[in-house]
Point group: C2
Chain length 206, copies 2
């Protein structure tokens, strides 16, 4: 660089050297596009997780024999277990439905940003804000459903809450699968925030 201080016109051809530097921005652009692609893929995954969690939770109904009538026909007494018997599971379904709807909308928006390069810069801060809000909702719903499901699995002898999973085995399998999938949804939301922050911090001049 010190040689450029010479007063000869020779440095002019050296000024032509920048083409490799000018070629650099496309190289910088490529990973940015990759990150938008990853964003779309993660949002689709979040949508899939939300839908699966809601469907598995809602279809968890199981009817079992819990005893027999004490009088003549001694016919068996059936009792169903449904997700809407617990407010925790209702909250879970509501929260994951919100996450599913949100992921659907943001997938479309993120896909449109993929078609218009440069548009994502304005979009990312908004995405982070809403992603973090939805993460809070999904994480708390996962915790709520998981906490109640754990009591159903193990019971709590201190307050005489008996376990129910020994009777309603399929119901509990549905609940466990649904909570597991929503945990994956939480992790996907965390990854989405990481990706957005990575894209933002790359755009800050050093």
């Amino acid at each position: 660089m010190a040689s450029t201080t010479d007063d000869k016109p020779a440095p002019e051809p050296e000024k032509v050297a920048p083409p490799p530097e000018a070629a650099a921005p496309p190289m910088e652009c490529a990973p940015r596009d990759h990150s938008v692609v990853a964003d779309v893929v993660l949002r689709l995954l979040l949508f899939a997780c939300s839908v699966v969690a809601v469907v598995v939770m809602v279809t968890s109904k199981q009817t079992e024999v819990v005893g027999r009538l004490p009088v003549a026909p001694f016919s068996p007494v059936f009792k169903p277990a449904k997700f809407n018997h617990s407010p925790a599971f209702i909250y879970f379904v509501a929260a994951l439905s919100v996450a599913g709807l949100y992921s659907l909308i943001t997938t479309v928006v993120s896909f449109l940003a993929l078609l218009k390069p440069g548009y994502s810069t304005k979009l990312i801060p908004h995405f982070v804000i809403f992603d973090v809000l939805v993460l809070g909702i999904v994480a708390s719903a996962t915790g709520t459903a998981g906490g109640v499901a754990y009591i159903g699995l193990k019971g709590n002898s201190h307050v005489m809450w008996n376990k129910v999973c020994n009777v309603y085995d399929k119901f509990c399998q549905h609940i466990a699968a649904s909570v597991g999938v929503s945990l994956v949804a939480s992790i996907v939301l965390v990854l989405l925030v990481f990706l957005s922050v990575y894209s933002l911090s790359k755009k800050i001049p050093k």
Copy 2:
């Protein structure tokens, strides 16, 4: 700027004009410092919330008479309610302790960033990543404890889980206060992420 192409020494004083432009960065710097101050204050608030939530939860022990001996002295039977009778509340204490320790460390780091202006640019992306992780932990712990506390408050007639808050009133008040404070901690974490993203997006050239 076109006048600077003149070959007289007069343009030299014009070069002195930039000071207003050079003065602009401190004007840009001022809100950045404000956001770092807000960051430190929010982290202190997060620390206070975490400590209060843990202390209120841990000190929730209450012993009540739950019956009397069926034989001669008919002495009352005492039974304590403690937070560690429920795995959900143990998880809650663990999660809020982690959040408290994290907020203490990041308050110190953020305060040091306040003393060294310009250092925060490198720091913010890391802060966002860890804030989001801690938010996930605190939100899920709040959900877990809240879900179990709700069963204690209302019971669940479908699975014959009886309510306990009619007996252990002070215990339940402690749990409710603790869950409420941890909800505030979750909101503070969301605000911290918002603040960081705002600071990051301000540093991106238009």
